[in-house]
Subunit: 137 residues, 4 copies
């Protein structure tokens, strides 16, 4: 993916050495960004479906997941003088948000936006989990 390479490249331009693997970090940031976008779109599309009662939980979890994946991408993008414990806690919270949101979206996989959102959530959950493993190594 063109974009992931771009994120990884900008991470490599940082003046300080990076404790984490650039590739895993770049992929995680990218997956978080994609997840924020998919969740924002999905919450909004659910709202427009004209049957929001059954989609209330989906809308709520998409909103939470968008908010968490946004700041996970931000904080993971910062490499200067941070604290790795904080990134790890946040990655755990983000992975949980993705899991909950993805599972709920899968219940409405007849809706294209819910299926696409479930896939973005799964990619993000995996990328967070891999970065947690890389950060603990």
């Amino acid at each position: 993916m063109d974009h992931v390479i771009h994120t990884e490249l900008i991470l490599r331009q940082h003046p300080l050495p990076l404790a984490l693997d650039h590739r895993a970090l770049g992929l995680c940031i990218e997956a978080c960004m994609e997840c924020e976008q998919a969740c924002t779109s999905c919450a909004d599309a659910c709202l427009g479906e004209g049957r929001p009662d059954e989609l209330v939980k989906c809308i709520r979890l998409c909103q939470d997941c968008a908010d968490i994946s946004d700041i996970t991408a931000r904080i993971a993008s910062r490499q200067t003088a941070g604290d790795e414990r904080l990134l790890r806690e946040l990655l755990h919270a983000c992975a949980l948000a993705c899991k909950l949101c993805g599972e709920e979206c899968l219940k409405h996989s007849g809706l294209d936006h819910c299926r696409a959102c479930a896939e973005a959530c799964e990619r993000c959950q995996q990328a967070c989990t891999r970065l947690i493993a890389a950060a603990s190594a």
Copy 2:
């Protein structure tokens, strides 16, 4: 504080019953909002001090803490169809961000904005910890 009461009031106007204590929730949201503002101001004031080298860690942790306390306030403000585990994970991450940021700010307590920020962080950490306890009860 006038403002906390306002947040608590708007929480009480929600159509669904709330699992959590309205007062603890309102205080936590309010403390997160205050913390986001104090951290944003402190990061910016540190940047303007003309000796950013010794304040680099403070700026970084203030940025992270502002981002996390912002979405903790948002997600805690939502009462419809959410998942309590997610709120709990996020409250833990927010309390950690406040602890790290507050400790760093205390090292520069000769700077008024750092001292004020450390106090806001401490209030937010305590409010998050109390809400975790209330949510687990």
Copy 3:
């Protein structure tokens, strides 16, 4: 309001002189924070009302208004090396978001959270407008 004074105080602790009036700036930041919280709560409460069809527009505008008032508070909180044109453009966008959201909420003023949100939007719109005037003076 206790809180506004706190925001104004932390603004006064900044090392650089401020082009804008501290009081107008502090009030605007505070009003934006209150507006973000009220809009987040109102969107969520509308979602829980069990009749979201008539509240779809309200939910949508509350989400937009929460997002804009959040970053208006952030950017207005920064005093170091910024650009006043940008703050002014953002204040205009925030005032418009508040106007649109507040007008929509007033249509459902039978709902307590919508009435409270309309009031928060109006206060925020006025505070933004006053700060624009102060910035242009």
Copy 4:
């Protein structure tokens, strides 16, 4: 770019007809996301350069631009019951933030992250300007 197509696809899955051109909208959202990431990375890399005094303005404008491009992507992603005037005002503010930030970054184009950030800002400014034109057509 793989990613733009993904954003455009998820926009097409929305249940309601879209007033705007899907392609211009998808490209703008994607450019805003890339810009938020580049600005977040650049602000942080500048902070780590060990000579932050000359980079203070760059850090500040990158932070503002990251905040604005984030919510521009969010609000542009929503297609349900919104207000086009608000999107337009926000696109103008985002284009201005990109212009100011990109111009400042170009002053330090000897730094790879500043050059990359300037490019991301320019792409985002162009995408916002194109979407304004499309929205006014």
